[in-house]
């Protein structure tokens, strides 16, 4: 029915890659400071502080109303079907919410010709001036010093102590 299968020629396995944001950043760079910065930005897009791993399992019970006929039928048909490992994996892959980055990866936008506007082209890009204000991550005021290990800024020795005690290298995988 859909003709867009032909456009994405690249074959992909149906298995969803479960790479945490932190790990992805760690794989991309070997440097502590970039890792810390990337992981910190990644954390800003999370809905909940802790990632729930159990969500997938109890999802079935989270159906809106239990008298939903379609839901019961689906459950019955699922029970009748012979369970294979592959089928299970496919079922799980379908259920698990995929992140936007996975969808973006699937769309294969890099292969478009350079003049076609796309999601990737629309990003605003780096600032024209490279100077950034340095704000203390502990108290928020202007910071003159940098942590030698993780590259986070702080303004005074008190803040440095707090930083070292609490979250130096917190975001590094």
């Amino acid at each position: 029915m859909d003709d867009d299968m032909s456009t994405s020629l690249r074959r992909m396995s149906s298995r969803t890659r479960k790479v945490a944001g932190k790990m992805a950043a760690a794989l991309a760079s070997s440097d502590n400071r970039t890792q810390a910065a990337l992981a910190r930005l990644e954390a800003l897009e999370n809905d909940n502080a802790a990632v729930e791993a159990v969500e997938i399992i109890d999802d079935d019970e989270a159906s809106l109303d239990d008298e939903d006929q379609a839901y019961i039928q689906r459950k019955q048909s699922m029970n009748m079907k012979r369970k294979t490992r592959q089928g299970k994996a496919r079922e799980n892959a379908k259920k698990a919410a995929r992140t936007f980055l996975e969808l973006l990866h699937e769309a294969n936008l890099e292969s478009l010709p350079p003049h076609v506007p796309s999601y990737l082209k629309a990003a605003v890009g780096p600032p024209s001036s490279t100077s950034r204000r340095n704000l203390c991550t502990v108290c928020g005021f202007t910071a003159n010093y940098t942590c030698v290990r993780c590259g986070v800024r702080f303004c005074c020795i008190q803040c440095q102590n707090i930083h070292n005690d609490t979250r130096c290298l917190k975001f590094v995988a």
Binding site: M1, D3, L41, N48, E55, G125
Partner: protein
């Protein structure tokens, strides 16, 4: 005919839903489901049975906001979890006073730019609309052109309607877009995106407060409220930082927010609204020095009360905010401060305009329209204008218009479009979808 169009502005943060042709949407509800955190649910069996229930959309706003774990169907503004979205939509269609027979209604749906060019977003979306909900026809629009339409009709003598073009800055929940609109169509080569929106700002505030005062990492909804009530855009960051450093009553930014305790009050609140508003005097000074003098007298009057206020009450859960109040919205203007390798909003606007035809530049600068929930921070437009002015050639005028309700602007534009006579011809019908598939149907919405 027109009453059978359902207009659905499906934002990452809030769903705005209503019937086409009306002035106000039927409902504005959060686009997520929530479940009380299993660790904090009461130990008694009765309470856990009642609170374990999954809350959907409008039920969230009524419920106790503490420690809800949220699931959203959108990630970075794009639909990633159609199953969850179906649950939310079907709940809304069932509970709200909307046309009950969807098979004779049309749907006007908003999607972020480029959503239809991603097959894994587009396909589930069409399937959702036509297969799960059986709509008769569908029109997918982007929010910028709807905002332009609304602004043009609201203000027929304005630049936007006379020239038929404008620059829409949509600073929403998931990201910020700057979109040039020409002849009611958005120019997709001019769209620039800044990956910062209300969600990132709330999370940033959450992180700051959790690190400096109380752990609120699980309290997304409460921190949303804190952000909306207390944050504002600073016009002079170094000066404000100096003020925020001061102690006692010289510190005009300090204010206290009380977290809900679940017994006497279930919603959090600002402890003292006067105290929270003191910083406004900074901006009034130039305009009315007299008001400031009066303010001062008033302040001495409440000195006794003030002493009382300064003590942190340990029986209550509350925290102080100082420089967070303006540093959080500041990130939209200077993402580099956060370590993001992205230009700020002003530069985003300039780049977006520069990628259009040079003849359009002066007109676009003169009709910048702000929309989206994150533009509700006080003095947002003023700050943008101040940052924009040095970047724009001298002989161009810069004019920034704010919609009267930036959250609903897109929906109201959609409502106008849905009631226009040409609307039916622009839609894709269910038969078209079954015949052609989602890819070819979506091409009809792209110019």
């Amino acid at each position: 005919m027109s009453s059978n169009v359902i207009v659905l502005d499906n934002g990452g943060g809030y769903i705005k839903i209503g019937v086409g042709g009306e002035r106000e949407p039927t409902a504005v509800v959060p686009n997520c489901t929530a479940r009380p955190n299993s660790s904090t649910v009461g130990t008694t069996a009765a309470s856990s049975a009642s609170t374990k229930k999954l809350l959907i959309a409008d039920e969230i706003t009524a419920a106790d906001p503490t420690s809800l774990s949220l699931r959203r169907p959108h990630d970075r503004g794009y639909l990633v979890n159609p199953d969850l979205q179906r649950d939310i939509w079907s709940h809304l269609f069932r509970s709200l006073p909307l046309p009950s027979d969807l098979s004779v209604s049309s749907l006007l749906l908003t999607q972020p730019p480029f959503a239809l060019s991603l097959p894994s977003v587009r396909r589930p979306l069409f399937e959702l609309v036509f297969e799960d909900f059986n709509f008769r026809s569908l029109y997918v629009s982007d929010s910028a052109s709807l905002v332009h339409l609304y602004e043009a009709s609201r203000n027929p003598n304005g630049v936007a309607s006379r020239t038929q073009c404008s620059l829409v800055v949509d600073c929403g929940f998931s990201f910020t877009h700057s979109v040039p609109v020409f002849q009611n169509f958005s120019l997709n080569y001019g769209i620039k995106r800044l990956d910062l929106g209300g969600k990132a700002l709330t999370n940033f505030l959450k992180e700051l407060v959790s690190y400096r005062a109380i752990n609120v990492m699980d309290e997304t909804l409460i921190m949303d409220d804190v952000k909306e009530k207390l944050c504002s855009v600073s016009l002079d960051v170094p000066r404000d930082l100096q003020i925020a450093r001061k102690s006692g009553k010289d510190n005009l930014f300090r204010c206290t927010y009380v977290l809900p305790d679940g017994v006497t009050h279930t919603k959090g609140f600002v402890k003292d609204m006067d105290e929270a508003q003191r910083y406004v005097t900074l901006y009034d000074e130039a305009i009315s020095p007299k008001a400031v003098a009066e303010e001062k007298i008033e302040q001495t009057n409440v000195m006794g009360k003030y002493e009382d206020r300064r003590r942190i009450d340990l029986t209550k859960n509350e925290f102080n905010l100082t420089n967070e109040r303006f540093l959080v919205p500041e990130m939209i203007f200077r993402p580099a401060d956060l370590g993001m390798n992205e230009a700020g909003l002003a530069e985003c606007v300039v780049r977006s305009i520069n990628s259009c035809n040079p003849l359009l530049h002066p007109v676009l600068y003169e009709s910048i329209i702000l929309t989206g929930g994150s533009t509700l921070f006080p003095r947002f437009a003023e700050r943008l204008e101040r940052e924009l002015r040095p970047l724009v050639p001298d002989d161009y005028r810069v004019k920034i218009t704010t919609l009267e309700d930036p959250i609903l602007g897109v929906w109201q534009g959609g409502s106008l479009l849905a009631s226009s006579p040409e609307f039916d011809a622009m839609c894709v019908s269910k038969a078209d979808f079954e015949e052609l598939g989602s890819a070819r149907c979506s091409r009809r919405f792209v110019q």
